[in-house]
Amino acid sequence: MGRYIIRRILYMLVVILVVSFITFGLMHSVPGGPFDKEKSLPAEIIANLEKRYHLDQPLWKQYLSYLNDVFVPHIAHEKPKGLDVADDYLIDIKITDTFWIRWMNFGPTFSSRSRSVNDIFRQQLPVSVQLGTLALIIAIIIGVPLGIISALKQNTIYDYLGMSIAIFGVSVPVIVLGPLMIWIFGVTLKWLPPTGWGSKPPYIFGFLPTNLGWDYWKYALMPSVALGLGSSAILARLTRASLLQVIREDYIRTARAKGVKERNVIVGHALKNSLIPVVTILGPMMAGLVTGTFVTELTFGIPGMGKYFVTSITNRDYPVIMGTILLYAVFLVVANLLVDIMYAYLDPRIRYD
């Protein structure tokens, strides 16, 4: 298992490299540059800007130096000052007082002069991760029980009701649900603040909010429900289908034949088996939720990562495009790996080596 994971991680690096190459190529093939503004700038100004961001170099050089900045660990002999946004490494590890290992410099962003892409990652990504995670939790809290009830009460009114709720969840996009929720709960009833997010840097472990009280939840509730509802529908359907299949299995009959209580038959014997496929989609689902927060963030005014990507493409903010795609790619690949590991953990029949 250990060797398997190591091999997978090495393979991940290759995948990420390829992804970086494709993205870089694609991104630079899109016409237009980052400094094309409505008020067109004099050539001298553009030249200054391109020089500052090394865009005056040939593409292959830019790519290689990007790879060097991001993938190759660097060594510094004094505490990095971080005066220059172009000199900001995501990972700065102090070995001794005169020896620092620095890794992953995603470069400056063109959209902000005092921040690097890493700053965006540090400050905006945690919000998206929190939002995505909460949405996932909401999805699980709503979806799994809904699926279980539907399966246990198959072909009854509960089943139809549950599944209708589930389909409603996939069918009504956040674009509609979000403003409606704001209108109802934020403006009319004034139960919850219409917009905003309840945590700001610093974050515990780089992504966990420091407060989890009502001040946090009152902001988090609406957006995570809006975002999670669609996924809860998917989970509900999956749980239902999976549980329906599992309760037809022979070992459920065995459990009944042993005299296990019906409740324990479901909880102790059926549920775990039926949740295996459910758990395995949580990884990709989490990745999807974290990467798909754009609409929710915009609707609820949440300072997350989502809009950076969309606007960075419009603005040709190359480092942000590269950074986000790479980061999300890592996220997806890691999520897939975690799923595989989780799978092996949950299902003793699966073994990797």
């Binding site: 091999r7 997978r8 393979y11 290759v14 080596d353």
Partner: protein, 328 residues
């Protein structure tokens, strides 16, 4: 019993089939092999039925498939009428396939559920351009009648048929190209008792009518005894004993054969009461890492030291009676 001197139709010479076990995400490397068939030799004479028995996983099905070149052998040769099948390929092999057909174990999985019975049985005719459309239908209807089904079933789909009927369809398909050799890979083990007899009788009848040669693969010793002229007993990729059915069942020499025979239940309480049974201990070892020397030694009730060291030679201890055991 058929004449010993009849011409040899199929000669299997030291056939080996290993399935590599591969690992790796980008670059796969072979880290081991399943020794499915590990040096098997036998002949099949024209018109005879050779039974091949053994427990699941002993390599009997792999042997059948390797003979047909569905799996290419790792080493060894398969001669069909002195043509080495293991060296030919492509169009040549495709042509040879007309001569050898197979009947499969699972009557549900062996018929394409998306094709009509007519298409299934007619397919070999189409592939080998043996008949035009009209001729195909006529031939298929004949074949259906031959295996005891109505020709009117031409346009129906496999899922409408019962297991036994499907197995008949499988037989009809195999017969469509007028083969000489049919490899019956456990053709009856998935069927109910009363249906098994129907299919076995059909096979016997067809053999007589078309002078077919069968390699009959099964785990049911009583059925093998019933249908075969000669019987080979396989264990972990190796043939342990090969003899005429009379010799094998009345005078089994190999301890494994003996144990197998004694394990076969007899539908007679009186006989059962009187029987002395040899109960083998444990399970069949893994074919990935088979035991050294004699493959059977780990379960053999009479194993001695040499069995672990030396692989017993497969030798003819009596005329037509071959055994691989140090102690015989």
């Amino acid at each position: 019993m058929k004449v010993e001197s009849a011409e040899i139709l199929l000669r299997v010479d030291n056939l080996v089939k290993h399935f590599p076990i591969k690992r790796g995400i980008i670059i796969q490397k072979t880290i081991g092999a399943i020794h499915a068939v590990d040096g098997v030799s036998f002949n099949i004479h024209k018109g005879e039925t050779l039974g091949l028995v053994g427990e699941s996983g002993c390599g009997k099905s792999t042997t059948g498939r390797t003979i047909l070149q569905l799996y290419r052998p790792t080493s060894g040769h398969v001669y069909y009428n002195d043509i080495d099948l293991s060296t030919i390929k492509g169009e040549e092999l495709r042509k040879m396939r007309r001569k050898m057909q197979m009947i499969f174990q699972d009557p549900y999985a062996s018929l394409n559920p998306r094709m009509t019975i007519g298409e299934i049985i007619g397919e070999p005719l189409v592939i080998h351009h043996l008949a035009d459309k009209k001729g195909t239908q006529a031939r298929v209807e004949d074949l259906l009648e031959l295996v005891g089904l109505s020709g009117r079933f031409y346009n129906r789909f496999p899922h409408e048929f019962s297991g036994g009927q499907r197995q008949r369809i499988g037989v009809a398909r195999a017969l469509a190209v007028n083969p000489d050799l049919i490899i019956c890979d456990e053709p009856i083990s998935a069927l109910d008792v009363s249906i098994q007899a129907q299919v076995v009788n059909l096979l016997e009848d067809l053999q007589k009518e078309f002078n077919l040669t069968y390699l009959f693969i099964a785990h049911d010793l009583s059925m093998v005894r019933h249908i075969s002229d000669r019987v080979a007993v396989m264990y972990l990729g190796v043939i342990m004993e090969l003899a005429t059915r009379y010799d094998l069942y009345n005078d089994p020499l190999h301890p494994y054969t003996k144990a197998l025979l004694s394990a076969v239940p007899i539908p007679d309480p009186v006989a059962e009461e009187k029987r002395h049974r040899t109960i083998l201990k444990g399970d069949v070892p893994s074919p990935v890492n088979p035991p050294s020397g004699c493959r059977f030694r780990t379960r053999c009730p009479i194993a001695v030291e040499i069995c672990a060291q030396l692989k017993p030679e497969f030798r003819e201890v009596k005329p037509g009676h071959w055994v691989a055991c140090h102690l015989v």
